[in-house]
Symmetry: D2
Subunit: 349 residues, 4 copies
């Protein structure tokens, strides 16, 4: 069986490295081309010594991005670029016939006005309608055969997987949702900053971008679909002293306060029956249990005294929250079983 | 000026050690007696090598608890005992004329029914009415001359300091409060468990005791006082991979949704003007900035889109959340300036 | 191609869990039986929620160890038992015709006197001669067809892989070796203790078992083989605030002080050419770069001023230092390519 | 009693912040001036929110360095500047009559040739002879009345305190010393780099500057004084995933291999009797036990099999390894008891 040649555009960041780690064990593709603007000319294993030892990766040298070069080498490209840089790259690659999986926020919002409100004017609005939101557990059918996939953000992935089934089932109200999210530091990327300096981040926790994080409209878009009503929510991300992991603790109002906890758990179980990557857990999900793999642990609780439903999801922000999800979406787009090359268990502890 | 002889009952845990670390630099007291049931006969500096080097602490040997012995040695006792063990110890010491500062939950709830609902029957209900809730920023006047002080829990301290001023001022509603709290592992004490084993807790985050943590009624009691209305709220504690620190992220509904963020910040500033230990911050409070000291950093935000107020407080769970607050309450009870022996800056980073 | 049925005896510890994580993706074996003494009757995924999601593992229930049951279910067994408990289990399983890979220290020392000096009398001395030391990079030929494999300790693996090639080549002296090793906390196992309590281990470093760690004779045995002379060395292990990883920093005296650094690097490169799991690195090896995988990063330096060679190796203590190495040794024993089921890249960061 | 006005030159780094944390509680001095080149005009508490709450620090605004301004405001200055920048500042301040405590390496080496070999030509060789090496436990007498103090490096402090007493007593040989040192990340300063990025440093250990770290000649200078013979040694620093702390594990050859461990411990105890900050410990010293304070824990072991003495010292790199030691040296220079303002116990855990 021939392997599909793929490219990783933007291989010098953590998401790029994670894509390469996963792709090298995918039985249906082969990594044919890698680009990294500022590291052009460097060997991949110099940028990322943890990739040493694989004959497939040892010879790879980073190239500057050139759409023609990418198109000559590959049929499909993952874009792991900063927000804003994906639009021109994706446009050029789509024109050249490639399938594009974009891991930035550039194509995630369907509504150009929402995009503009949070990011500024979109330079290629016509593409927004073409992109499929690459969360297979929610958009599997549209992903089949998709040419442009907007791979979801890490926070939205965790939040949507926790809450959407409860909205689908009409068990919680569309208003009154609060999402308190906790993230490891790798989500901030590989560029050193004071906020991600070990001595600053190592032993404390703090919120950031309170009430103004750009993942908010993405979460609202998908939850509104589930609720069949406009969802406006409060989203507060926090930075924790750990490298990987996102835990979304979500608070919602029960549609029927008399229902027991089991009703919410059952809804999750029904919705996720047959989902390879999602486990419904009774104990609070722990990001340590999904670290390094594409798994999601979700759970639900009822605070009967206060009249509130609490749903949680734990993921690895670099796998199910980025590179793993991109592969899963690729599998869905190309018609492979979704767990192809993605089924490995993450290391614990 | 004579120094007051004090005892630390339960010196083998982290709270006990922290009390000793602080008391040794308090200019008005002297540590005359320490007890530790299972470590009786051991030198304190063997249990806690970090206490080595101070001539005042080097000779101390842990004793088994004996009320007469404590009373012979000291005029005031700190009880750093597990919940349930403080009642008999406090009763015996009060009978012998000592002032008692209890760091357990045994005397924190004024309402015996609330106590019973969360802990079971209280063995000495009559004492509940005598105890003063030892949060000086809220109960300074009652603390003056108090003989029995219930030192607040760590989560309640952070939560109350974040929310109570907004309730005092009528700026937020009494219903609809959600508290999402994040704690370092030292809050779980010094007894090894799987949950606090380094390899289990070291690189993940998870909630625990969802909708059933016993600090809930304590928070509700104090916030109800501030709101002059019954507060029932959702409280979710999380365990983070760090040793010290609590961050309480609190969500509330604005009484008047048209008010700007400044209204909430101003209320905090007005309420905490002159409070030595509380700083109102504009950037999200970081537990790393209060680590090792008795400080509290509080802030407030408005999510105008979703119609929600977000208030946060960061403390060190072992200092302002336990031992430091106990000293502050002692200072208030004895009429010393509250920051006596407590003003040191915690080390950062 | 039929898969070989294997058993994991002692599945409730970290090594057992890591074996299962790796075995589930090994294309030539199938996990047919798991035992865990104190957790008999529990589902494996309850003990280790990170293993959820794999249809092969979900149904597994831990059994109490019974040699007949193991023999009925499997042809090969991994023993992940505490030291001392492997001898009777291995004896029983060997008698029943199984191949045994033991991850304890019970069969690592060839010399019964050395065993006795460090551990006490050996209960089955005759087996010591039959066991093959399961470090494929050193004992590949003896491993072919082996029936009893003593999988090396974590510290010996790192130390031997750093130093043996330099002794092989006569580049360093057999006397004067010092090994300063740094380990993550997972090496201490899953049983909670004060030393591995998060709050105690989380922000400090300390040595332990100074000049008396039981891995010393194992290192000396293998380095003596390389040196063709008796090696007696100083070995000091340290516990670091991280979960996984061992770094061995090894100090030796150069046989010829006039040789440049390149001589030592070249010797490593020559020795490890063709070794799938070993990379010779020029920058100091970082345990973060081998975390989660079966890789080894080794390097060598010359301190020309002081006349000393410094060799280092970094491994993941639970993979190349335990479970991964056991699989690699199994592959060698059974004639599979050594990297079968073991080639995955570990996640970074 | 009048307080001495002091200045902190270079207040925007961790050492500067630590100086301010300690100075604010020193009863004999007052902080009159702070400078920070790139942060001139900013309030100190904006740079370091952990310093909030102290009336003495709240009003301080960072100034650009101007020797006349410093001299107008203060009688004594601490220089917490990058290496190379202290020489001109110190020269200017000495000319203006100030006492200078320099925390850089600019004045630590007495031998201009040694300085030149490791750092390049020294721009003010004549000052090298005037500077006193500010390790009070070794140079107390010369410190009395000193006008220019070279505060020791963090690694030298730990190493010298572990080894010098054994050399003083002739118990170990001057040749054959190996120092394997482990440091927290704060030692690398506050400027973000890839090496100190949380995701890179958070879960691994690695050596750096192998056989070429500039603290080597400083250690050799002081140990040669103790040995009354030239000491040339191997020094290997390692970066650990923790914020504070240095552990120096030092290997040496016994002068008399027949002596028991007690001989080395006794030598440490005899040498450090009466030293307020040094505790001789029987268990391996743990950096967690000295974190946040000016304490040193030292110990000694004998590896009788291999014929080697192992001495260890643990310090907090920012306190006894920098700011605390600077205060201690100031106390010694000005004739205050050395523990004045420095006696606080660091927080544990």
């Amino acid at each position: 069986m021939d392997r599909l040649a793929v490219a990783v555009v933007g291989a010098s960041g953590y998401t790029g490295a994670e894509l390469l780690r996963l792709l090298v064990d995918h039985p249906r593709v082969t990594v044919a081309h890698v680009t990294a603007h500022r590291s052009a000319g460097q060997r991949l294993v110099e940028l990322f010594p943890h990739l040493r030892g694989r004959p497939e990766l040892e010879p790879l040298v980073c190239r500057a991005f050139d759409a023609d070069e990418v198109a000559a080498a590959a049929k499909l490209a993952f874009l792991a670029l900063p927000h804003g840089e994906s639009v021109p790259a994706a446009t050029a690659l789509l024109e050249r016939g490639l399938t594009v999986l974009d891991l930035s926020a550039d194509f995630r919002l369907r509504d150009p006005d929402a995009y503009e409100a949070w990011y500024g004017p979109h330079p290629a609005k016509e593409l927004l309608g073409r992109a499929v939101y690459g969360l297979p557990e929610r958009h599997r059918r549209e992903l089949a055969g998709a040419r442009l996939v907007a791979v979801p953000g890490c926070y939205p992935t965790a939040t949507i997987l926790a809450l959407a089934p409860l909205l689908d089932a009409g068990l919680i109200r569309a208003d009154g949702i609060v999402v308190d999210a906790k993230s490891g530091v790798s989500g901030a990327g590989r560029s050193p900053t004071l906020a991600t300096h070990f001595a600053e981040a190592g032993e404390g926790v703090r919120a950031y971008k309170v009430a103004e994080h750009r993942h908010t409209p993405e979460i609202e878009q998908e939850l509104s679909l589930a609720a069949r009503a406009e969802v406006t929510l409060t989203f507060t991300p926090h930075l924790l002293p750990m490298t990987r992991g996102i835990l979304a603790t979500c608070y919602a109002l029960p549609a029927d306060p008399s229902l027991p906890r089991a009703a919410y758990l059952d809804a999750l179980r029904a919705r996720y029956a047959g989902e390879r990557f999602v486990a419904v857990v009774e104990q609070p999900p722990d990001t340590a249990h999904v670290r390094g793999g594409n798994r999601v642990h979700v759970g639900a609780w009822l605070d009967a005294r206060a009249g509130r439903v609490i749903a949680m999801a734990a993921i690895d922000n670099l796998v199910k929250g980025a590179a793993g999800q991109a592969l899963q979406a690729m599998n869905a787009a190309l018609g492979f079983p979704e767990w192809t090359g993605l089924d490995a268990v993450g290391p614990f502890p």
